[in-house]
Every structure is written in C-alpha cells, then in structure tokens.
Point group: C2
C-alpha cells in the first residue's frame, strides 16, 4: 500500500479536486481553475493538458464550492403549491427547461400552509439562490422584505399583488372576465355564475371584476359568486350548490380550467345536464387537458411558457442591475373557442392553432 493510499482513512474515495488534477497535469491549482473558467487567461496548450488530465481522473468541478466563491449559485428557488393543477405542472416544466438553457436549475419548494411557505423561503435564501420565483404561493411581507435586503430578486407568476420590490407577471385577467362575459352574453345566456378561486387571490378578483362589470353593463346584475378555492374537490362542492337550486345558472365562468373540469363533471354526471346545451362552462388557463375531448373546454388562455419566459427576463434584468425597481408585466391571452359553451353567431377568428373569439 502506497503512502498516499494509507493516508486515505475513508473507504469511500473522495471525488477528485482541482489539486488532484494539478498534480497530474504538473501545474498549479489556480491554473486548473482557469482552464475551467471560460475566458480566463490560460495558454491553449496548458488548457489542453489540464483538460486531458481532468478527464483521465474523472474530475468534475464542485459547483457548491464555486458558488461559495463566486456568490452565484445558478440555482433558482421555485415556491409552488397546487402541483395537481396541470397549469402549475406546466409552469414547473417550462421554468426548468428554460432555465436549463443557461445552465441554471430549480430548487423546489412545494408549499401548502402559509407557515411552511415562510419557512421554505427562508431556507431558499439560506441556499443562496440567485432568485426566487413564486407561483400560486404567497409569502409574508416580512419575508419578501428579507429577500430584498439579501438582494435576491423575487418574481411572482400569476398574481397581480402590488408589493414594493416584488416583480410579477400575470395574464390578462380583467380582459379575460370581460371577453368571457361578452361571449356568453352574445350567445344569449340568462343566469350567470362565477366560480372564484380563493378569496384572497388577486387574479381571481380581477377576472371576477371584468366578468361582473361587463355583465352589469348589459343589465345582468345578479351574478352568483362561489369560491372553489382552486381545488377540484371544493369546485365540485360549490358546483353542486350552484346547480341544485331552482333557478340554476346556464353559464358558469370558472377562475381556472381545473375547477371548470370539476364543474363539468358534476353537471354532466350528477345532474344529467348537457354541456353546452343546458349549461355553458368556460375556464381560464388553456391547460393541455382543455383540448382533450373529454372536456373540450372553451377557455381564456394564459400561456405558461410565455409567463415563464417573461419571468426569466425579469430575473436576468434584476440580477444585472440590483438597484432596479420591480418590473411588472402582463402577458396576452385569447378566448379559445371549443365545445363547452354555446357560441355566438359572429366574431370568430382562426388563429394558427385555435379558433379564437373577438367581439
């Protein structure tokens, strides 16, 4: 047994480090570091020598150590709840893929209660993440202040909250409500209802605002509002409440596709209603499932890929210029016409992939 091996007390062999590579290549440890730093000042020949040595012993840079030294981890924290809603699954996927293009990755925090929300974010900060994106997830104001103090940009996806220092991207929520109302009114519905998300959801509030304001302007002032809490189960419960009364609605607008699925389920299976002849149902999001013929849902689209793309642009701007003020950005959507709601006679436009409606 050589002296070197004898010194190694652990059974499990250490992963090779820059020093190991340096020894093999016959250069200094700093030279090795430079060989792995794009744009660093190294002779072409020594770089090659080093890379060869590195390969021969299976060296991989330790990204944790690099992060500590550079103060940049290339890790982005994602705080998310509602992963069962396909819209948020899409957000995760898009964010992960788009970040990967620049070598960054997601550290995931799934949250339910607000307490573990806060705890999660504290942990995220401790991991020295480069930024924090929050989707369907709300942190306390204190904590977001803490992020700002730590110089970690925060961007919210799909919220319209106006908090100091917090960037956010969202869809056309109020316009969604207005367009849906116009569409349903143009196709001659009588009784309207809105299945909201949670009470404190700003995007749900904006959709509701657009919806009832438009309807009010055309004389429909008694829109029933119920809260589906963005879950399938609660949406099903409130759908029952909506449909079991004498004068049931013939048009239901839901604050998310996912809740719209629950409404359609209850209406067709439990109440024997025909969608759209007895009841029109419209959602928001345009998740992939909406196009599945089991639901064939008319919906206002909110493209997850675009929201994520804007979020990343914001993150990059904030990182490049930490003094910068929060950025707020709205992403456009369309009313995608499918089979779950009666259609007006006029106003269709053919999009590249979908039939969309404009008044």
């Amino acid at each position: 047994m050589s002296k070197k091996e004898g010194a190694n007390k652990n059974i499990k062999s250490r992963a090779p480090t820059e020093s190991d590579v340096a020894k093999v290549a016959g250069v200094s440890q700093s030279a090795v570091s430079r060989a792995f730093t794009p744009g660093a000042s190294v002779a072409q020949s020594t770089r090659e020598k080093i890379l060869h040595a590195a390969r021969s012993i299976g060296y991989q840079p330790n990204l944790l150590a690099r992060s500590l030294a550079t103060r940049r981890s290339n890790i982005i924290a994602l705080a998310i709840s509602n992963l069962e809603n396909p819209f948020y699954a899409q957000v995760v996927k898009e964010l992960s893929e788009q970040l990967a293009e620049t070598g960054r990755h997601i550290l995931l925090f799934t949250t339910n209660a607000e307490e573990d929300e806060n705890q999660a974010l504290e942990q995220a900060l401790s991991y020295q993440v480069d930024a924090l994106v929050m989707a369907a997830s709300k942190a306390s104001i204190e904590l977001t202040m803490q992020c700002q103090k730590a110089g970690v940009p925060i961007v919210q996806i799909n919220r319209e909250t106006r908090l100091p220092g917090i960037s956010t991207v969202w869809g056309e929520n109020q316009r969604a409500g207005e367009l849906v109302a116009a569409f349903l009114h143009a196709s001659k519905h009588e009784e309207y209802a809105f299945v909201a998300g949670t009470k404190d959801s700003t995007i749900s509030q904006m959709r509701q605002k657009g919806f009832i304001e438009y309807l009010s302007s055309v004389g429909k002032k008694d829109v029933k509002i119920v809260y589906g809490d963005y879950t399938f189960e609660t949406a099903a419960i409130v759908a029952r409440q909506l449909l079991e009364v004498e004068k049931r609605p013939d048009a239901i607008f839901c604050a998310s596709d996912y809740m719209a699925f629950a409404v359609i389920d209850v209406a067709t299976r439990e109440f024997g209603l025909d969608v759209p002849n007895d009841l029109s149902v419209i959602g928001v999001d345009n998740v992939p499932e909406s196009a599945h013929s089991a639901y064939d849902l008319t919906t206002f689209s909110q493209p997850a890929g675009s929201l994520v793309q804007e979020a990343i642009i914001i993150i990059d701007k904030m990182i490049a210029d930490p003094g910068r003020r929060a950025i707020r950005c709205e992403v456009a959507g369309d009313l995608i016409v499918r089979g779950s709601a009666k259609r007006p006679k006029t106003g269709f436009v053919n999009n590249v992939t979908n039939k969309i409606w404009l008044p």
Copy 2:
C-alpha cells in the same frame, strides 16, 4: 459615514455571517457555529446570547458553505420527464413534501432527450447532491457508474431495470397485467389489445407480459400490441389505428392512465363508441384524474406516495451505509373498479376508499 461603512464598497450589503454575529455577541465565530449546531457543546446562556444577536442582525446560516464543510448538502436531485403525466406530477409533489420533513429539498432536472439526461446528471453530481432519484428517466450506464464511484446513491422510481448498484422501487407490474386480464376475461370480452409505453420501458414490458400470459392461458392468443410512448398524442394515434379496423378490440389495457384517457377520448368522440358497453378501457396508476367522472377509469393502482416513501427509505439506508448493495422494492397495488370497463359478476371487495377486485 463611519469607517466600517466606508470600507463597504458594494451598494448591496452583504448578508451577515457568523463572524458578524460573533462580533455583536462578543464571542468567537466558532461559538456561533456551535450555537446553530444541534447537540453541540455550548452553554445555554451563551447560546441564548448568540441567538439573540443573530436575530437582531437578521443572520441566516449559509447552507452552501455548510454543505461544503460537512460534505452533505441536504439536496436530492430529481431527474424526471413526462411532467405532463399527472402521475409524475404527483411523484414530484410527494417527494418534495416527504423530503421537506427532514429538511431536504429537490434540485430538479427535467429531461427529454437522453443526451441532456446525461448532462443533467453530471450537473447534479457537481452540485454534490446527497442522492439522485430518477423517475421516467434513463441515464447511460457510464453515468450511473460515475454516481456510484462518487458515492451518490441512485434510486429509480417506476422501473424494473436491473443495473448493478442502482436501487429501484416499482409497482406490481406483472400482477397488474394478470389481474386486468383476469378481470376483462371474467367479464367476457372477445378482442384484446394492449397500449404499451415506450419499447424500452421495463414496466410496460412486465405489464404486457402479465396481460398476454394470462390471456394466452385462457385461449386468447392474439392480443394486439401498439406503442403509445406514454404520451397523450401518440396514444390517441394508436387508439385510432386500433379502432378503425374491422374487427376492433372490445377491451383495451393501457400501460398508464394518462394514455387510457387518450384512448377513451378517441373512442367516444371520434368513433362514437360507448365506454364501457362497446369498449372497456383499463389503465395503470390510479392518478387523481381517474376518479373524475369524465373518465371514471378502472385502473390498477400504483400509489405515488408509497413509491416515494420507499425511495426515501432506500436513500437513507444507502447514505447511512455506503457500502451497502442496491435495494430493490416492490410496492403493492389494487385493481380499482370504476366505470370504464364492464364488470364481472363476482369478485368485488370493498376497500376503505375504493371498490377493488380480486378473482
């Protein structure tokens, strides 16, 4: 401006460190470290003094630095594809929540092509993750060898591949195929088909094996096999191929619920078939959507929560004893009876939450 502030060249203030806390509390930096280490040797009074000082300046430990020093990051890499399949969304959620109970978190790698698969895993290793879990995701053998050399445990979820050193947990795949076959045969079907996943998916192969072997044993030797590639779109395409022929199947078993949804969509909307009277469809997974009445899918369950739980147990064992051999573990499921397949006259059992079938 004080001397100290003058020395701070950056606009953005550094996050406070142990040294900062030490200065405020009037102790050494190592004392601060101990105060934050459970079970370390510190006087109760000094610990309190330190924690108070820490709070006063908003100190949070730098987990990256801690990871570097302890060689334990409390980060688990998750390589996953198919996030659009709700089963895998559930795996993400469950893994994230169950790991959070012990203060660990997921570093997420979403993968499509096998190349970025490998690249992802290399990166994961570079981040010094404590373990790697792979779901619906396949790495090259070389890379998995590299993980082993680096002493990083790997566990695969939902694969039956037998690779040296790789732990894996899976459902009762062959039994699923057998039970489904028995169920369909007992309810008097004539023409059988199997919608497989990808050609190289071991779990799909095992399900197929159980299915055709049972059917063969009762004289049904001509089961049609098509490949849905685990995607909704491909499953829809092969469903069309299956149904457009003269002698179409009246019983289709799908290697995943997600593909079963596509089959039901195509059968009902495009071919006007009644499920289950014209066609029985059965899946595997029992994702939440299966219970939604739009599909009301009969399916063999594969509980994501249990699979994840076993995976974590394995990880912990491997970390505790790195010399240990790979662990392989099968998780039991049930045939959950719902409305998408004709039922046999006999053999029902009432589970706590579901109606299950046993021959």
